[in-house]
Amino acid sequence: MTAVPVKRTLLQRWRGAWRRWSLWTALVLLVVSMLATMVWLAGRYEASQVQTRLERDTADAVSDIRTALTHNVQSLQALPSDNPSQLAWEVDASELLRNRRELVRIELRDANLRMRTHVQSPYRPVAWDMRLRDSGQSDLTIACANARRLGGPAYSSSYFQPHGDGLGSEMMELCVPLSASGRTIGYLVATYALQDILANLVGHNLTRSQEASFTEADGTRLAVLGAARRGSRMFSAQHLLDLPGGTLVLRMDSWHSAPSLFPNVLTALVTAMSIALVTVMVVLVRDNRRRLRAERDLADALAFRKAMEDSLVTGLRARDLEGRITYVNPAFCEMVGFSPQELLGLSMSAPYWPPERVEEYQQRQAIRFAGTMPPREGFESEFMRKDGTRFPVLIIEAPLINAQGQHTGWMSAFLDISEQRRVEELSRASQERLQATARLATVGEMASLLSHELNQPLAAISSYANGSINLLEHATPVTASAPESDALEDVRMAMRQIARQAERAGRVIKSVHDFVRRRDQAREAVHAQQLLDAILPLVSLQARKLGVRVNTSVEQGLAPALCDRTMVEQVLLNLARNAMQAMDDPSVRTRVLDIRVRRAASNPHNGWIEFAVTDVGTGIPPEVAERLFTPFFTTRPEGMGLGLSMCRTVIEQHGGFLGFAPNEPRGTVFTFTLPVNNGTTP
């Protein structure tokens, strides 16, 4: 069971690492390959440069050779060959040979190629085999045949001439026909050593790392100048040297040191780094911009959170796992009266704990840190302010979990519920007061009803007794006998007693009634709004339960009413409750209780204020309406049937009028009036 998640996390880690590193690997590979390409390209460029230079040198050398050869042809033609004195020719030819080291020998032959004279180069002694030379198949013969055919100088192909000392060298013949008045009178044959052509005509331009050679078409070397190093870095260029009658190939080889890697890498690096730098700068700028934006967002969010924290009326406190306070918000500080500096870092006993309850709180804290989850809806406790006053708080605690999912402490929210407590207390007190007066009013109404109901028969008894006495007085006969007279006297006495006892009963009732009604005189000037404000909390309590909307309106500029405040409150409360109960029926969809107070018809002496309590309930059926104010008549099983009766008594005691009428389109409206306090009545 546990291995699977581990494996999975390992796999996930690998995958994550691959995802993270693959990009970087690709980037590095790309950079390396780019560097290699750049180095290779740089090397190739360098090689092509070398090759081009070599080609150019070869072309220059061929051109030099051709110029020199042409120059030599002219010099040979300038020799005085027509002069019969051969000596002058020989002198000039020797002179030429001395100047021109590439020339080995100059012969002067007649038109039939017979040797007339010759001179030999002083620098290169060659043992000539004249027989071979004069044979019809020799190169000389072929060259002269070519010259005769061309009518101009012609060259032979090269051939190997042994020197007699075991060595030899490649030679080439030049045959220049001599003509006089359009007829060939002889030939000048000059012999070139290829080695010397290279040495004298190319040599001065040759660098140390270059090698010049004449080769045949198949690549066989004929003559070589210079000695290039052998190796891998060889460059080679060939150029054809076209001569009339023969063709030579000039080949130049050059060795070039391997293009140095280091400068190329440096260049590549600098280039790559420049690119990277620019890229990094762009990335940096963008990153910076994003960072700035993120910072701004963060600052905004922070400011928002700070404002939120500061505006909270809920106190916040964070503690770490050792119980040290790590954070408090301003609301908390304000609540307990300590500054954050006084609170932060405190652990076991906080200064806002009432001293006598420290132990209890420490136990609670210990339980909390043992890992018990606090109740979600919070719990109530008592704290102490800096000045020592106590106040009740509602504490809601939750574990602090950091971004890594670790439990690092506890966060607590505090609500000062002293105001709530006070309101509850006040509301309870007012409810108790109203209930007490309600009881008192009920007792009063009972007394009032009893006195009324008993006074009526007592009045009748008293009337009958007094009437009887009157009759007995008139009826006393003068002639009556003594016993009769005595009997009549007894009856009269009894009648008087009856009347007296009835009177006494009346007095008792009156005294009880007066005792209960002692507060009748407590009349004061009260604004209608004050009366409504006193009963609305209780009314809305019931209204919420029954789903009734309560509307109240008091006419502007209404004078205060002169009334017994608590009794009138009872009347209003009774009427409002009756109205709401009248609407507690499934058929009543929209339940609205409307209490309006306005100025009623008044004259200059007596002003009246009219209260109207309207419901949209089921209305009052006629048979109920008839008996509505009858004491002990009720439509409710739990009712005493005294409410409306009492209301009427109270209002009539104020001189007002209580009545009801059907409301349009449905329901009932109860109205009653109260006198305005015009200042003259106490």
Binding site: L458, N466, N470, D520
Partner: protein, 209 residues
């Protein structure tokens, strides 16, 4: 006190036993009464059969279903029926401030139930006496009007001058008639006004107006 003849006591109370007891008590003092069970019934009777020229008074219960005693009192006061019909309120319970207020507004008195001895009946008799007195005044005033209306124009002129205290001679001069004619008119005025002397005539006119 002399019993007042022809007097009627109206009783308005919703409680039948109280009504009957009161009627019985009044009968024991030879006072005739009429009972009504509600303010509306009494008002209807009054509309149908206005009180004759005889003393009467009204015993009115304050609290009744329907129209209350106070409301009826206001209606009667507005109609002017109260001048010859004093009202005594009967209060079953402590409506005393209300009752005092009604007395200020012109009720004759108020009595708390139960009533002691014959105090109520005594007050009723006083009320009837007041009623009779008021009625006599009214009757007298209407008699005077009748007598005055019987005088001729000339007789009225003569009467005015006689009351002003002028002797016959001056009256004759002023009215441009003979003294003899003045004397004839004067004796006719005395006959018609049912007086014997000029002083008596002056008194009658002063109280009547």
């Amino acid at each position: 006190m002399e019993p007042i003849t022809n007097a009627t006591v109206y009783i308005v109370d919703d409680d039948a036993s109280v009504r009957e007891a009161l009627a019985w008590l009044l009968r024991s003092r030879r006072l005739p009464s009429e009972s009504f069970d509600s303010a509306e019934a009494f008002d209807a009777m009054l509309q149908k059969r206005p009180p004759q020229r005889q003393p009467c008074c009204l015993l009115l219960d304050v609290r009744m279903p329907g129209m209350s005693g106070l409301a009826l009192f206001d209606v009667l006061a507005a109609r002017g029926d109260l001048s010859t019909m004093p009202v005594i309120f009967l209060t079953g319970h402590a409506d005393v401030p209300t009752a005092v207020d009604t007395v200020k507004r012109g009720a004759f008195d108020f009595c708390e139930k139960p009533f002691s001895d014959n105090a109520l009946v005594d007050r009723i008799e006083q009320a009837l006496a007041q009623s009779a007195e008021r009625l006599a005044q009214v009757r007298e005033r209407s008699d005077l009007q009748v007598r005055l209306s019987e005088l001729t124009e000339r007789e009225r002129d003569v009467m005015d001058l006689v009351v002003a205290g002028l002797p016959n001679k001056l009256i004759a001069d002023q009215l441009d008639i003979s003294v003899r004619t003045v004397e004839v008119h004067r004796s006719r005025v005395f006959d018609k006004m049912q007086v014997k002397s000029a002083v008596e005539l002056a008194n009658l006119l002063r109280t009547g107006h």
